[in-house]
Subunit: 251 residues, 2 copies
């Protein structure tokens, strides 16, 4: 069955079906990502307002839920899983501009169209807010707007770091930077392993490299004793300091 979707990452032709019912206040009150998300800007006493504007959505792996260039109707807040954000060229070349994990807010768009696409890497849980309801919330809770500005500023810093990486770092430096970033953001499992939810192809599209170069670079790092590459997507960092100096080009 051919893929007729405009989204390069879409793997299933079916439309994403999303519910429309709001949530109970307790849902937000108990939410484990609230402390680290923009939702923390709303106090417990007002949390019902937030909850009733939100719709919980589950996105299966590989499913695209924001398509670049489509009307920007919704904002999203990731509550679990990992999302890849990307831009594409007409001939299919792609650049992943970031990975968004729990607590991350998506959908900031100045124009009325999304400037990027978003696809679930693994199973992703989202809270969805329509733009209109979000607008009302922002009018009523200016603290939320401030929190959103903080979030945007953080992303801007990350984007600047990524521009330095893409414009000036070597393949080894890129991969080292990536592993350290992932180790800082995602938590390690009981064996100190870093679980990467994304494929080598995703990493390549994030780092501006090819799959082969990412694979070769990881093999080289393993040969150097810097990392251990386990089964599946698990990686153990064995020489963090060496990776850090490599990431900053001090080798």
């Amino acid at each position: 069955m051919p893929d007729t979707s405009s989204c390069q990452f879409e793997q299933r032709p079916r439309r994403l079906v999303m519910g429309t019912a709001g949530l109970q206040a307790d849902f937000c009150k108990m939410c484990n990502v609230r402390p680290s998300s923009v939702c923390s800007a709303i106090e417990n006493e007002d949390i019902g307002r937030l909850a009733e504007a939100a719709v919980e959505t589950i996105v299966t792996p590989g499913r695209c839920f924001i398509e670049e260039g489509e009307p920007a109707t919704d904002f999203f807040n990731v509550t679990s899983g990992t999302v890849k954000l990307f831009k594409a060229l007409p001939d299919g070349r792609r650049q992943i501009t970031g990975f968004a994990g729990p607590g991350h807010f998506l959908g900031l768009a100045v124009s009325d169209r999304y400037a990027f696409g978003a696809e679930a890497v693994d199973t992703v849980r989202l809270c969805r807010f329509s733009r209109e309801r979000m607008r009302v919330l922002l009018d009523d809770f200016p603290r939320m707007e401030r929190r959103l500005l903080e979030e945007a500023s953080n992303e801007l810093v990350a984007a600047q770091n990524q521009m330095l990486l893409l414009g000036r770092k070597t393949a080894r430096e890129r991969v080292a930077s990536f592993l350290l970033d992932q180790a800082n953001h995602g938590e390690l499992n009981s064996e100190g392993q870093l679980h990467l939810p994304m494929t080598r192809g995703d990493i390549a599209d994030y780092l501006g490299l090819t799959i082969e170069t990412v694979s070769r670079t990881l093999s080289w790092m393993r040969a150097q004793g810097m990392i251990d590459v386990g089964k599946g997507y698990a990686i153990t960092i064995l020489a963090q300091e060496r990776l850090e100096s490599l990431a900053e080009g001090e080798d």
Copy 2:
């Protein structure tokens, strides 16, 4: 005289001297960049509050006025001229993350240190605001915070485009994209020429290329009849559509 500054772009060892006196209300009221800047969020009746918090600063070409990693004490608003924003690696490799022209707001930083450096490309006029005074202004004028969020969102979109450029575009596509961006933002002179205030080196550091590749690519475009390279920094776009399809990789 050796350059002992930590700023890679600093050319003069003297410290930047900046005044401390606030401005008259009329200064902001008459300001020609107010409509396109965050300052437009403050109405005429309150503009005195903005003016008294601002200090006008003139920065000579090549002068660095924000140093990466230094304490983030001030915000800036560019009123004339062009600023380059950059990040650097310890060995001197640099990435210019953007050029900021009139109306552009600088200094958004989450931590208490600047995440990037800023240097005047040509003679630059700035309004400077201390973080504390800016904080008070934002508390008193929530519209300004909203305006700042818009600005940050715009920058985020630009950053995503730049990541696509740096990660996935060829040298020709990069230069074509750059020329079109510049033509869109800066206005053309009476002869339809685009005046680029920055050097080939700056363009190279912005596009993740070398000076030689930028120069060769411009020469190639001229040989193709796409552009005319005039004296100094003037460029005429002769075949906009060809440049546009080139910029999007449709060639």
